[in-house]
């Protein structure tokens, strides 16, 4: 176990996040002789996709699927590379001077980095429907985390709702592990096919085509699937039933657990706080960092690899991590031998081929992104969609200005969860684009730290003199 005090004051490369991009980047750079530290906040590496890859109690390989076990090789490779891998390390600050604020075991340090690769991956897109804050409503990602890390299978009457590959993967994993799912509410609008169909030829050639079809067949054979245009979670103290409307009219299902998921979006929090420029991606309906061909950002020395650079999946994430690491090695140690980038780029291109089809097909409907009325937009401060819409109508032009009126985005999560909802609502009300409206200016700490942790930060000689004077 590495303690905060054990860390050097500087490293040539700091990699943030131990998913496929971070593991691949750290392994490549360390092997090339670059002093590399990888900070990962979880107890073990793997990120979300390969969560608990070194420790999962789910030993039957068929349950989580062969793709999951690909993560083991990445973890082994990183471990053998000589990179310092620190788990339980929460990075709470990064700035354009490449100072990395990190907490380990309640103690804080600020570490200097010559280069930084942000590999903090993705997060689930908010799914703001009426009742989504009731106990008994969770994200599908949270359920998958419990399955991978603890072997926990969802219990009680369970409904999955939403769309996107991960929803179907979780359904399949749950069924294989012996769980039951009472229904799936598919929110994918039929008209999405009109856009997606143009990209079908590319998708048919991508590795996801066969896997996706097999997954759908596997789940549909065991679980009734309903189309849904609207979904409401109903209950007073906790979730009691799910009400949805679809082609067959309105239906009510008594349930204990509703799992929501409508795709993932880049986790931009750390990059945004570091001053990295972002731009709205209309196909993926999210902000993505502006990056060069080597995943270098607008801030010198900071790269963003993996799904944080735009959603492309775990295999692509690893390739992106390698490309970013090669750029770092070339800058730090021009004489070092690195793998051929061309081959990596070709593999990456193959991985990314089917993305346009998936993005178009799984584009979440407006009804599930742009809430109305009393539906909560900002969970921390309990700000409703109506309040956000009315404040935008009154003249409030962006999420940063809105904070002063509604406190939305000012609670413990600091807008990390409601950011897209608030930006899209303001854009809709003001009849402009999310790019024009912009995003929260996220500020460190990007993860909350205690006053005690901050007070534990060692003082440099210069600071101590300044205080004593």
């Amino acid at each position: 176990m590495i303690a905060a005090a054990d860390l050097a004051s500087s490293y040539e490369l700091v990699v943030i996040g131990g998913g496929p991009a971070g593991l691949a980047a750290a392994a490549l750079a360390a092997r090339a002789g670059v002093s590399t530290v990888l900070f990962d906040e979880n107890p073990g590496v793997g990120g979300q996709i390969y969560r608990a890859i070194t420790s999962t109690p789910v030993k039957n390989r068929a349950i989580l699927g062969e793709d999951y076990w690909d993560g083991a090789a990445l973890a082994d490779e990183a471990k053998a590379s000589g990179a310092l891998i620190v788990n339980g390390a929460t990075v709470w600050s990064l700035d354009r001077q490449r100072l990395v604020g990190v907490s380990i075991g309640g103690k804080a340090r600020v570490i200097e980095a010559s280069r930084v690769i942000i590999a903090t991956g993705s997060q689930e897109r908010p799914f703001p429907i009426p009742g989504w804050t009731l106990p008994g409503v969770m994200t599908a990602g949270a359920a998958q985390t419990a399955l991978k890390a603890q072997g926990l299978i969802v219990g009680g009457r369970t409904v999955l709702a939403g769309g996107g590959p991960l929803l179907w993967l979780l359904a399949a994993q749950t069924l294989r592990a012996g769980g039951t799912i009472d229904a799936i509410l598919d929110t994918t609008p039929n008209r999405n096919w009109l856009q997606a169909i143009f990209h079908l030829p590319d998708f048919a050639l991508s590795p996801y085509f066969g896997k996706g079809l097999a997954l759908l067949r596997e789940v549909r054979a065991k679980v009734p699937v309903h189309r849904a245009h609207t979904i409401e979670a109903v209950g007073t103290d906790r979730l009691r039933e799910v009400v949805f409307s679809g082609p067959g009219g309105t239906r009510r299902l008594p349930v204990d657990l509703l799992l929501l998921h409508q795709g993932v979006v880049p986790n931009v929090n750390l990059a945004n706080a570091a001053g990295v420029a972002h731009v709205w991606n209309d196909r993926q309906l999210c902000f993505v960092p502006v990056l060069d061909a080597d995943f270098g950002s607008s801030v010198p020395g900071i790269a963003v690899a993996g799904d944080g650079a735009g959603i492309a999946g775990g295999t692509a994430a690893a390739e992106r991590g390698r490309i970013a690491a090669i750029a770092a090695v070339r800058a730090l140690k021009p004489e070092a031998v690195v793998p051929d980038t061309q081959a990596i780029r070709q593999r990456l291109q193959r991985e990314e081929m089917g993305r346009a089809f998936l993005d178009c097909l799984n584009r979440p409907a407006d009804a599930f992104r742009l809430p109305e009325g009393d539906t909560i937009a900002c969970r921390c401060e309990e700000v409703t969609a109506r309040q956000v819409r009315e404040t935008a109508q009154m003249g409030c032009e962006g999420p940063n200005q809105m904070k002063a009126f509604l406190r939305c985005g000012m609670g413990p999560c600091q807008g990390r969860l409601c950011g897209l909802t608030v930006t899209e609502l303001i854009a809709a009300e003001r009849k402009t684009s999310p790019d024009e409206v912009g995003y929260y200016r996220l500020r460190p700490p990007v993860k909350p730290i205690t006053l005690a942790e901050l007070a534990s930060l060692p003082i440099s000689e210069a600071e101590r003199k300044a205080v004593e004077r």
Partner: protein, 371 residues
Amino acid sequence: MARTADVVVIGGGIHGCSTALHLALRGLKPILIEKDYAGRHASGVNAGGVRQLARDLHEIPLSISSMDIWERIEELVGDDCGFDAHGTVLVAESEAELAGFRERVEDLRLRGFVHEELIDAAELRRLVPAVSEHCPGGVVSRRDGAADPFRTTQAFRRRAVEKGAEVVEGVTVTGLSRSGANWRVETTDGDFEAPKIVNAAGAWADRIAAMLGEPVPLAVVAPMLMVTSRLPAFIKPVVILRGRKLSFKQLDNGTVVIGGGHLSTPYRDSNETVLDWEKLAISARTVWELFPAMHQATIVRAWAGIEAYMPDGIPVVGKSSTSEGVFHQFGFSTHGFQLGPGTGAMMAELVATGSTNTPIDGLGIERFAAK
């Protein structure tokens, strides 16, 4: 065609917005030009302290006239601005420090200012029960308090517009020149003309002054602040220290704002600041020692607003020393928020009538003229 007005106000912070409002209330037509949006910088993101306590003698008249406005702020701007008057307490951390405070309070009394009041350990504990045992007393200014800075600046902006001011945002001033009896203000969105100009451009005000051949030694600074998640209510007044840098306040919603003037690195051309965590850690340790109740508080956000700091720590307020019709209102040196309402009223009077009843001696730009 240049757009014309009676006065062009440069800068949409609390000072520019307040001056624009007070000019409009006098029946003049101001145009306010702001390079970002009103309240984007220090005016919108400061600690919100509304304090007469511990001010430089030169600013006390402006501070007192501002306080009178703060107490009827809703009447003026149509919004209570989140203003609460629970007082500001300057805590002494030793007997020696308390003795110094006593001298200051007595000196102020001789000058006729009675807003600062010396308190003993018992009164300190009554006002601030959570304060650490080692503090022997302090000074209180009971009318002081705190307000929501962005909301306040926006309220002044909104009311100014309602009263006839024009506010132009996202537009940067690029040059100043004479055009007959008028000043021509060249911007990234065309020219504006007016016989009078108020320079309330904060951290960028030296650039405006330089356009007038009136350079000032302005330092660009960005004092850092932190805020915690919600805690049970445990403190009403704003608490400040003298020996160590700290300002400390719990808002009605339970969050605690910790400031005090430790500086980040500002980049005024890109509107960015880079925080200095070692200095924030010093603040954290100070809070730790002063308020044991805070040990497990969670810091959810830290930030800094860009503003101007003058070499003598007091603002530049008054007529230009080189240019007829130009007035300065900047350099508030990290304590300008409270002064906004009263300084705007004074400036409007000065612009409209050529003189003011509020003493501003010692604040003029001529003090920086090359000798």
